[in-house]
């Protein structure tokens, strides 16, 4: 009797979130701790569900801007996926220049997103100056995309059939020089992530996701690639540009950070390539009529595969939009990583998955 009560009151239940300094977004982990060891974790969703998928069906033109607001971190991927969906419904071929501009913007956003994730990781392990340094670099890209698109977060550059804004020659050279500078400075930071003993102490072996478990949860993006699953949609889509996915085998928080670190270097490279080879031509091809049919679009967002399903029946409003986001699968995998870890590792592990609730719940 007393023993049982003993066990009961030895556990602490921690409501981790929805408002918690380690999280940007409202997510609730109900953690069961024995002393500081996590013995059980329950993930509670729904704080961020706005009902966007329903609202997105109201007017297909308006939805370009609204689906950007599925998420402010990879807004451009959402609008691109959406526009590509409708382009395939309208069967328009996007002009080459527009494709290149989209690539520049997507990869720039990937940079901001990965720098954010890494900065967040640094913050979670209490490495404040590294966080500051990463955000300092991030600001330079924010300034660049602000200049190109007119906004720091929601570029509103996509249109069905192309893009709405052009990149001037001056902006092009600005992009290249910024990338050169960033590369030099980031390589220094990359070395810190790779070698610093205190960072390694906090990340190596934390939140291990073996390839088998990774597959069973169907994780995507850097989380999958850190667990040895070589899967990156850019590999097949980026014809003409040299690209190889980054893969690591360890499957721990360290590997996930390192995948992002290397992807940043590859993205820098991709941006430089596309910006210097930017072809001429039209920005945008007009479409006619109302969308009909159904389509799937897949895109490699910073956190992994983003999938849009759109079905339309020839009216201004769409019949159904379904967004399957990368974070949706990756966050679920947390429940496989967290048990057995220390309370202090919770932020590190959570952040290493780079959870995004706003798109997971839409």
């Amino acid at each position: 009797m007393i023993k049982e009560r003993d066990e009961m009151s030895r556990t602490t239940i921690i409501p981790f979130g929805p408002q918690h300094p380690a999280f940007l977004e409202p997510l609730n982990l109900s953690l069961k701790l024995s002393e500081e060891t996590v013995i059980g974790a329950e993930i509670n969703y729904g704080y961020n569900h706005r009902g966007l998928e329903k609202a997105l069906t109201s007017d297909f033109r308006r939805s370009i801007y609204m689906c950007e607001r599925v998420c402010g971190i990879c807004s451009f991927f959402h609008s691109t996926a959406y526009c590509q969906s409708l382009e395939s419904l309208f069967q328009v071929q996007v002009p080459e220049r527009a494709r290149y501009i989209r690539t520049i913007m997507m990869e720039s956003q990937r940079l901001t997103s990965h720098l954010l994730a890494l900065g967040h990781t640094a913050e979670a392990i209490g490495f404040e100056s590294l966080f500051m340094q990463l955000f300092r670099e991030r600001e330079s890209i924010m300034r660049m995309v602000n200049d190109i698109s007119g906004n720091r977060v929601h570029y509103s550059m996509n249109a069905i059939g192309g893009v709405r804004r052009d990149i001037s020659a001056q902006q092009r050279s600005d992009i290249v020089s910024r990338m050169d500078g960033l590369e030099v400075r980031f390589e220094e930071l990359a070395k810190i992530f790779e070698k610093d003993p205190t960072i390694r102490a906090r990340t190596v072996g934390k939140g291990v996701l073996t390839p088998e478990i990774a597959r069973s949860y169907g994780v995507v993006g850097p989380v999958a690639r850190a667990s040895g699953i070589a899967q990156d949609l850019r590999e097949t889509y980026c014809q003409g540009l040299s690209f190889r996915p980054v893969v690591r085998e360890e499957g721990d928080a360290y590997a996930r950070s390192m995948v992002r670190v290397e992807e940043i270097l590859r993205s820098i490279d991709l941006i430089r390539q596309t910006a210097s080879e930017l072809p001429g031509g039209a920005l945008n091809i007009p479409f006619r009529g109302r969308p009909t049919g159904e389509t799937f679009t897949r895109l490699e967002a910073p956190r992994g595969e983003l999938l849009y399903y759109v079905r339309a029946k020839g009216t201004t409003d769409l019949e159904r939009i379904k967004i399957k986001t990368p974070a949706f699968v990756n966050v679920a995998a947390l429940s496989a990583m967290v048990p057995g870890c220390e309370m202090a590792d919770i932020p590190v592990i959570t952040v290493s998955v780079d959870p995004c609730i706003c798109c997971t719940e839409r």
Binding site: I2, R5, D6, S9, R10, T11, T12, I13, P15, F16, G17, P18, Q19, H20, N28, S30, L33, S34, E35, E36
Partner: protein
């Protein structure tokens, strides 16, 4: 002082409890026993105070042995009877070990009686140390007995229980008044008998087994003591404590009796590796634990050591080992206490830990250390009594002794929680005596790096386990939640408050305690260094601002009692979720790991004890 009144006082403190004990056996009914216990308690308190005053003002009371030959004879007879009782008990309990120990004691005693024992000296020698002990036993012991009157309502066999309790007090007083080691031995063994009976009182299997364990350990200690006494007679030609030579004058094999008596003290004070019996004793009703841990039993061991301190002083390796055994016990049990969830077990470990400190003080053998040891003895007894009685009251109120189950007790049993707060404060907080003695002891070990290391780590652990426990009790919700309150029984309230008052008074009068009791005893061997003066207490190298701290503590207490306008309250932070809160405790180590530590500690300390006994032999051989 030769007046018969003094004889009366000394005699009363030993005989009165015994007499009332016999009376209790006939009374049987709890209310009647309660009255008798109450009466004898009041009287004992008053008499102890009177004796205290006399000794402080007029110096030690000495009674020559040849005047008391008849008593010596009576004691010898009773002693043999006691040994036979033990043999009988062992036979009934089927404990071969206890039987062997009892038989060995019988043989040693008989050998001594046949060989003849020197008779020239003071049989009774009531000095400052004795009277200090008698005061603690009589006052704290009485309070515990009164407390037990209420507590034992749930148990059977009241007559026997209270008889043994009172007998215990009488025996304790007898032991500390005796100067003749054989007298002391008799009373020593009476306490063994009492503890056996009290631990086994509940009559359950577990209780009986624990009682037998206790008997085995302490009887073993008794053998060591008996042999020690015999060797005393052999080496020093005396069995009178005040005639033992001082440490500088002895060496080699002559140290053996001292070593053996030290081992006996270790068993009585439950130092590692002899701690098992005291932990097993937790099955006894709480008043018994309170009595064993504070006013009686375990104190007897360290008392003997303090008595032997002048002889041990300067004995080199021997006193060094005693000191090491003490600090090691202190540290190890302090760490173990962090891993326990049962309040009584935490307290038990804490007792061993604190007694370890006193042992260490004796081993250190400096003026400061001796002073610290005596201060520790007094204040530990008071606060431990308070804490045990509080746990008893909590057990009655909530049905559990588990620390986890005490969560939020502040809201449910404010008075008892307050008592725990006071008790713990006495243990760790200024200005109380334990804190002062910790300070003193720390200053004493500044030139002993190794001892200091054990000490600083142990102090840390002590803070941790008290914080954990007190923290649990005070883990409360908002003040709005604190609505339903159990009434604490009046007897409990009164006894708890009385103990707290004794503790507070003793702290307030620490200067007087020092001047009147401690320094005179210390000055037998050393120059007493701790003086009242300046802001409080001062040594040649340090200063303890007692007065200022008392003022500070009083101000804080007033603030605590002041019930002004309630501050605005808010719910606890739960990340906005507003969910049910559940907080657990920390035990740091798994049970397996604790057991492993325990095994290692037992082994190492057993080696140390063996070394302790063999050190004189080795020294002899080497010389």
């Amino acid at each position: 002082m030769d007046e018969p009144i003094v004889d009366l006082l000394v005699g009363f403190l030993v005989v009165a409890p015994v007499a009332v004990a016999l009376f209790c056996l006939f009374l049987r009914k709890l209310p009647a026993i309660g009255k008798a216990v109450g009466a004898v308690s009041v009287l004992m308190t008053m008499f102890a105070m009177a004796l205290l005053t006399i000794v402080v003002t007029a110096g030690p009371i000495v009674r020559e042995a040849h005047d008391l030959a008849s008593i010596t004879t009576a004691i010898t007879v009773l002693d043999l009877a006691l040994m036979l009782t033990f043999v009988y008990i062992s036979w009934k309990a089927k404990s071969a070990l206890a039987g062997v120990f009892a038989a060995l004691q019988l043989i040693v005693l008989a050998t001594m009686e046949i060989g003849g024992v020197s008779e020239h000296g003071a049989a009774i020698y009531v000095d400052q140390l004795s009277v200090m002990m008698a005061f603690v036993t009589s006052v704290i012991g009485s309070i515990i007995c009164v407390y037990a009157v209420r507590y034992m309502a749930h148990y059977e066999g009241h007559g026997r229980f209270f008889a043994v309790m009172l007998l215990f007090l009488g025996a304790m007083n007898g032991a500390v008044f005796s100067n003749n080691l054989l007298w002391l031995f008799f009373f020593w063994e009476v306490t063994t008998l009492c503890s056996y009976l009290l631990i086994g009182h509940a009559g359950t299997m577990e209780a009986r087994r624990s009682a037998v364990t206790a008997a085995e350990y302490t009887l073993g200690g008794g053998v060591s003591l008996a042999v020690g006494i015999m060797l005393c007679e052999h080496h020093f030609g005396t069995v009178f404590l005040d005639q033992l030579p001082s440490g500088a004058a002895i060496g080699g094999l002559a140290l053996l009796p001292l070593a053996l008596m030290a081992v006996a003290a270790f068993t009585k004070s439950a130092q590692i590796p002899f701690q098992k019996w005291l932990l097993g004793a937790m099955v006894a009703p709480t008043p018994v634990s309170a009595l064993l841990h504070s006013a009686t039993m375990v104190n007897l061991g360290v008392y003997l050591l303090l008595r032997l301190a002048p002889s041990l002083q300067g004995s080199g390796a021997l006193s060094g080992m005693v000191a090491l055994a003490g600090v090691a016990s202190f540290l190890i049990t302090a760490v173990l206490a962090m891993t326990q969830s049962n309040a009584k077990r935490v307290l038990a470990y804490s007792t061993i830990s604190n007694l370890g400190l006193i042992v260490a003080c004796v081993g250190l053998g400096t003026s400061m250390a001796m002073t610290a040891g005596m201060l520790l003895l007094v204040f530990h007894a008071i606060s431990k009594a308070l804490l045990f009685m509080s746990v008893g009251a909590i057990k009655e109120g909530t049905g559990s002794e588990d620390i986890d189950a005490m969560e939020g007790l502040r809201d449910r049993m404010p008075l008892v929680s307050g008592a725990v707060l006071v008790g713990v404060s006495m243990m760790v907080m200024p200005p109380f005596g334990m804190f002062a003695s910790k300070w003193l002891l720390s200053e004493a070990v500044a030139s002993h790096p190794l001892m200091a290391l054990f000490l600083v780590l142990g102090f840390g652990a002590t803070l941790v386990y008290y914080a954990k426990w007190l923290g649990r009790i005070f883990t409360g919700g908002t003040d709005r939640d604190a609505l339903c309150r159990d009434g604490t029984p009046r007897t409990y309230a009164a006894t708890l408050m009385a103990t707290a008052v004794v503790g507070i008074l003793a702290t307030g009068l620490m200067g007087q305690l020092l001047e009147g009791l401690i320094n005179p005893y210390v000055s037998k061997v050393f120059d007493p260094v701790l003086q009242t003066g300046g802001w409080g207490l001062s040594t040649t190298v340090g200063l303890f601002p007692l007065v200022a701290l008392i003022v500070l503590a009083s101000l804080l207490s007033v603030a605590a009692l002041y019930r002004g306008r309630a501050p605005p309250t808010s719910e606890v932070y739960t990340c906005g979720e507003g969910s049910e809160v559940q907080v657990g405790t920390f035990y740091y180590w798994t049970e397996a790991r604790v057991a492993r530590l325990m095994r290692t500690a037992n082994m190492l300390m057993a080696l140390l004890v063996i070394a302790l006994v063999f050190a004189p032999v080795i020294q002899e051989v080497a010389a």
